[in-house]
């Protein structure tokens, strides 16, 4: 038999002025289960809490109702008071008679009092069905997995590792560095990207707490926050990294030439290669798709020239398993392919290039030694047209969002062009110039003045060839006229798009992604680095387009989250989670669909007395469950219960007034 104690608070005058508190106390005393009821000026004060503690002991109370302010305000305070009296803190219910009664019915004391009574009755009825709950503690494996070795992944890995937490950094390509390693200079300061990135790359390689696994992919993730098991497929590199010194003899002698991804295909690399000279690890890998030895069994030159004998053509893919506690996903972005812009002649005219191709050309270590050239004839261009928002902000072409970085990098490109080709002239077709960021607007303004670039506001409608020039026709919205610009080279500021593999990765990790393929954060404002799945965090462009400073901040935020998660040996969790009654569960698995966190799996259990008959039922991982109750309402056979908000509790509330 439940023994409920009710404590009604005056909240100074906040409640007492508009609700007849003694009358409320008298009313609740009429309820059968209420064995003690009293009032006090400030229940949340020390003496108030003391009254609760004393009454629990004196009247052997089994649950407590405090009628006071919103539970969002003082629920924790009163729970602690219960704990102090040796009572389970979850036997508390709060009747919100301040925000829900006294403050909103100030003109009608009688009605406010009536409502306060009903709210108390409801809280008492609910508390009768309250059960003892215990905080869930989940053990934690203190090791983090970082997926992606671009600047986001590098920063996150370094920050976590600096806190002496082991990190596994998985990179798909042979070297870390990512897109940033392809950049020449960075806006708005025009730092050399390589100069600021490579030291960090070297740090990663030499950090005692970082295990770098390049040329590999995550293929499976099991478990839940603090207790994940990851399987990583390490692709065969055909080079023994342990013995290889990175001398370069092999790739110098390799006869097979392949388009060089690092330089956007502008020049060639070999079939055995390191992506770029500063690569980390600076060991070559064999491109199995092009190596004639692997394809046809003929050649073997690299093995002959390698005096360490590091080449091993029989090497197989390898599966590496690691136990980890948290994941940082930093898979970056892809450049959007502008082929759909047929009106620009993309694909037909050689002298239309993308911004990243331009970036590679003007890069000091690029294929053209830092001088932009026309792909058609190798001449240095004089008139260069930059077209912004190619793909971005264009619903017709499929990308509705702003790619955020194009305004800035195009500005940077006009500067770089001006530096490299002094007598050149740049034209920029733009929709808006979005330069929100520290020093960004100043950078744009200064560039416009310094380079004398012509900015034309409007979309380009057509590009056609006239002799060896390209004619760019577009509208200048500011004068309301169609303009045509004669260009030697056209540079398209193509959109940032989500990595093509993101949906696969998201499914593999059990997290969600948006319609563009960007991975979804748990809350757009308040939980921007967490995903809906506990223990998986997002850094960089994999979540949405962003520039380097933002990416680095988010990566560091991820690191802070991971360190916070690993602060104790176990994680404490609210016990308001769902659980399954196996006997009632019919195994329809509809709840699996409704759970946004993937907290529900299935298991085969024997039901009933001594039964050996196995039945498939749902199983809730309380480490992952966030307690939304979606599964509870979905479950037709009421096999699922959400602690703290059980059917009994809610129906008790409904029928109590």
């Amino acid at each position: 038999m439940a023994r409920v104690g009710v404590f009604v608070c005056f909240c100074g005058a906040n409640i007492a002025d508009y609700v007849d508190v003694p009358q409320v106390v008298e009313e609740v005393k009429r309820i059968k289960e209420v064995k003690f009821a009293t009032e006090y000026k400030y229940m949340c004060s020390d003496p108030g809490q003391g009254m609760i503690r004393d009454a629990i002991i004196q009247y052997k109370l089994t649950s407590i109702v405090v009628a006071a302010c919103s539970p969002r305000m003082h629920e924790k305070t009163f729970r602690k008071a219960l704990s102090d009296a040796g009572m389970n803190p979850y036997l508390l219910e709060v009747a919100n008679i301040r925000e829900h009664s006294s403050w909103v019915h100030q003109k009608d004391k009688k009605a406010a009092t009536n409502k306060a009574m009903d709210l108390c009755r409801m809280a008492v009825a609910k508390s009768i069905a309250n059960e003892q709950l215990h905080e869930i503690s989940v053990p934690v494996t203190k090791r983090a997995l970082v997926i992606g070795g671009g600047i986001a992944g590098i920063q996150a890995a370094l920050d976590i590792a600096d806190a002496r937490i082991p990190v596994v950094l998985v990179e798909r390509s042979p070297s870390i560095g990512g897109k940033m390693a392809q950049l020449d200079e960075t806006f708005p300061t025009l730092d050399c990207a390589q100069c600021i990135l490579t030291p960090k790359m070297v740090d990663v390689a030499s950090h005692p707490y970082i295990e770098l696994i390049p040329y590999s992919e995550v293929i499976e993730l099991q478990g839940f926050v603090g207790n994940y098991k990851v399987k990583i497929k390490k692709k065969a590199s055909y080079v023994n990294f342990k013995t290889c010194t990175g001398c370069g003899a092999c790739w110098q002698k390799c006869p097979v030439k392949v388009a060089n991804e690092y330089n956007m295909g502008i020049d060639k690399r070999k079939a055995i290669y390191t992506p770029f000279p500063q690569a980390v690890p600076n060991k070559p890998v064999i491109d199995a798709e092009h190596c004639t030895m692997l394809l046809k069994g003929k050649c073997g030159i690299c093995a002959k020239v390698c005096d360490k004998g590091s080449i091993d053509y029989t090497m197989q893919d390898e599966i590496i398993e690691r136990e980890i506690g948290a994941v940082v996903v930093a898979t970056g972005y892809d450049m959007w392919d502008p082929t759909p812009y047929e009106e620009y002649g993309v694909g037909r005219f050689k002298d239309i290039i993308t911004s990243l191709e331009f970036e590679r050309m003007v890069s000091a270590n690029g294929p053209t030694n830092g001088v932009p050239v026309r792909p058609s004839d190798g001449k240095v261009p004089k008139n260069v047209v930059f077209i912004k928002c190619v793909g971005s902000r264009d619903e017709a072409k499929g990308i509705e969002y702003c790619s955020k970085i194009c305004c800035m990098y195009t500005t940077k490109h006009t500067i770089l062009l001006h530096h490299k080709v002094h007598d050149s002239h740049a034209y920029v077709f733009y929709m808006d110039i979005r330069a929100a960021g520290k020093g960004y607007e100043e950078f744009v303004k200064k560039a416009q003045v310094d380079t004398g670039t012509t900015y034309l506001r409007g979309r380009v409608s057509k590009i056609y060839k006239k002799g060896d020039k390209l004619m760019v026709r577009g509208e200048d919205a500011q004068i309301g006229q169609v303009v045509e610009v004669e260009a030697d080279l056209v540079v398209l500021a193509t959109a940032v798009s989500a990595p093509k593999d993101n949906p696969n990765l998201a499914r593999l990790l059990g997290i969600s992604y948006d319609k563009y393929g960007y991975l979804s954060e748990a809350h757009p404002k308040l939980r921007p680095v967490e995903t809906a799945k506990a223990g998986i965090f997002l850094a960089g462009c994999t979540q949405a387009p962003k520039d380097i400073p933002e990416t680095v901040s988010q990566a560091s935020a991820c690191a802070a989250k991971v360190c916070g998660l690993f602060a104790g040996d176990t994680m404490k969790k609210d016990p308001m989670v769902s659980s399954i009654n196996n006997e009632y569960c019919s195994g329809c698995q509809n709840c699996l669909n409704a759970c946004p966190y993937g907290a529900i799996v299935t298991e085969d259990v024997a039901i009933g007395h001594g039964s050996k008959d196995l039945r498939t039922v749902a199983k809730i991982n309380e480490g992952v469950c966030q307690g939304c109750g979606s599964c509870v309402a979905i479950c037709r056979s009421t096999a699922i219960t959400l602690a703290g908000f059980t059917d009994s509790q809610i129906i008790n509330e409904i029928v109590s007034i």
């Binding site: 309820i31 059968k32 007395h609 029928v655 109590s656």
Partner: protein, 352 residues
């Protein structure tokens, strides 16, 4: 026993029914959704006392309601106040029109269990205050087998008043019990004239023979009783219950099933305790608090149903707990017939 008999015609019968309705609360078959159920009526036009037997629910709910309030309670800190429910609406003086013979017979069967170790006073009062008025059956329905069971359909004393359609277009209103007799005296006014002779015309005999001959189902219940009591373990129960979907409706429409469950419903401080029908075909019927269930599978529940109807009740009270009305077969979504079940099982059991 002096027996009052009145003779009248169709119009007179209607007037008689009206007189019944005027004299006391009257229940009669009322059509709803193509099915007749006994409801309170005030006018003859609302009801059909000659409703087809296959489409009429039993009168059991008028004596053993589908849900009866057992008690009311008010629980406050001052204590729990338990009170009797409001006056029993079924215990007033009343009459039921259009009762089928099998239904009337079922009351006699139920009387046994309600007057056994515990006397159910509610049931008693309802019985005492009720006059049962029935029209003589003249044709068996597809699933009827009342004549195969051990009672005299012709001389059923469960009927207080019997209405007989004479072949001459005359309608005889006959009192069969003292209760019926005094009731007729109160109710029958000028529309009918008393006849002193017992109606014993050869027409009636012919009518009865035609009625008895119209039965598709016939069996020797004594043989069935005897065989069934010996074959508890026959696997045939599994076969006969094969296509049962355990829907329980047989028990709910059965005029003699009397199992119930108890439930409380509470709003604010006050609550009501209900006694509602339950069925032994329900898988949870025998589930015990500790988790043990002696009848976890369907055939065992079916065995219980058949044995209770034709063996256990007979052993204890000397009667079959089946009146051969066929309501369960009609209601059954897969037309399982208790008649076929007991015959098939007893026949198979003996072969082994």
């Amino acid at each position: 026993m002096s027996v009052e008999t009145f003779v009248t015609d169709k119009a007179g019968l209607q007037k008689f029914y009206e007189a019944v309705m005027a004299s006391r609360e009257t229940y009669a078959p009322v059509e709803k959704f193509g099915k007749f159920d006994f409801k309170r009526v005030a006018r003859v036009t609302e009801c059909d006392p000659e409703s087809p037997i296959a489409k009429t629910q039993s009168i059991k709910p008028l004596f053993f309601p589908r849900s009866a309030k057992v008690m009311k309670f008010v629980a406050t800190s001052a204590g729990t106040d338990v009170s009797e429910t409001d006056e029993d609406p079924l215990a007033v003086k009343r009459a039921i029109l259009g009762v089928k013979h099998c239904d009337a017979r079922s009351l006699q069967v139920l009387d046994k269990v309600y007057n056994w170790d515990y006397i159910d006073t509610d049931y008693q009062k309802r019985r005492e205050n009720t006059v049962i008025i029935s029209t003589r059956c003249d044709r068996a329905d597809t699933h009827c087998f009342c004549t195969s069971l051990d009672y005299d359909v012709e001389n059923l004393d469960a009927l207080d008043v019997l209405i007989v359609n004479g072949s001459d277009g005359k309608i005889y209103i006959k009192a069969r019990t003292p209760k019926g007799e005094s009731f007729l005296k109160e109710t029958v006014t000028g529309q009918a004239s008393p006849v002193t002779d017992e109606i014993a015309s050869p027409d009636l005999k012919k009518q009865y023979d035609a009625f008895a001959g119209s039965f598709r189902l016939k069996m020797d219940y004594k043989e069935v009783n005897a065989k069934l009591s010996k074959i508890f373990d026959t696997p045939e129960f599994e076969n006969v219950s094969g296509n049962c979907v355990s829907c329980n409706t047989c028990a709910f429409v059965c005029p003699t099933c009397h199992c119930f469950k108890i439930s409380d419903e509470k709003v604010k401080d006050t609550g009501v305790r209900y006694k509602s029908y339950d069925s032994c075909n329900n898988g949870y019927f025998t589930l015990m608090a500790g988790g043990h269930n002696p009848r976890p599978v369907k055939y065992r529940r079916w065995r219980q149903r058949a044995m209770h109807k034709f063996v256990y009740y007979k052993e204890r009270f000397g009667e079959n707990l089946c009146v051969g009305c066929g309501k369960c077969t009609i209601a059954c979504p897969v037309n399982i017939s208790i008649f076929e079940v007991v015959n098939q099982v007893s026949a198979a059991g003996v072969q082994e």
